[in-house]
Assembly symmetry: C2
Homo-oligomer: 124 residues x 2
């Protein structure tokens, strides 16, 4: 991973593959895009990302923090107060993910129609 040996996601063991999976995984996308709306505490983020378990959200946030995309700010109060936000890189990533999600959400009727046609040909 240098100027002479650039990252290439098409290569089997390029470390970029792991980051792509952290970022674009089922919960990674949603966590990043949610945090792009602003900082969240753990429980609030869990409510925002409907359906995620504590275990998976925790795991996802750690992976994103490890890759330098998410900041974890712990205040040593009682009860504990932990706030999650994005780094500059995380914010840039979230913007690009949001662009992808916007396209999907905006094309959902077209996609559902394509599915119906595909299924009627395969199933009928």
């Amino acid at each position: 991973m240098t100027a002479r040996d650039p990252a290439d996601v098409f290569t089997r063991d390029c470390p970029s593959r792991a980051t792509v999976e952290n970022v674009s995984g089922k919960w990674g996308i949603l966590a990043l895009v949610a945090l792009h709306e602003g900082a969240f505490r753990f429980s609030a983020l869990r409510r925002r990302v409907d359906g995620v378990s504590e275990r998976m959200l925790s795991q996802t946030l750690h992976a994103l923090e490890r890759d330098g995309l998410v900041i974890r700010d712990v205040r040593s109060t009682i009860p504990p107060h932990v706030e999650y936000s994005l780094t500059t890189l995380g914010s840039d990533m979230a913007k690009r993910l949001k662009a992808m999600i916007d396209l999907i959400e905006g094309s959902m009727e077209e996609i559902l129609e394509a599915r119906r046609e595909y299924d009627s040909r395969a199933g009928g």
Copy 2:
């Protein structure tokens, strides 16, 4: 999924979640971005997407075809000749995915450095 009931990926059973997973899954991203470079035959695509099994590539392409992102063109010759390409929607999606991949590939040194720091704090 209408103008009054728009898709919302944050909601647990919105059908957009399934498409997000098809598109952003481990092999979905790579297949779409590869096809954005041009049309591919099955075997060539398999070589391009280093590490994918026949089973997973086939499954991935079917899911993307079903969502209206990929076109499968079968020529009834012997031996068979099948060519995969993108629809307009697939092409638009691939562009956005490529933007995400470019950011990751271009930030790989920064990401690896973040990992080293995280690991030295957690592991040391």
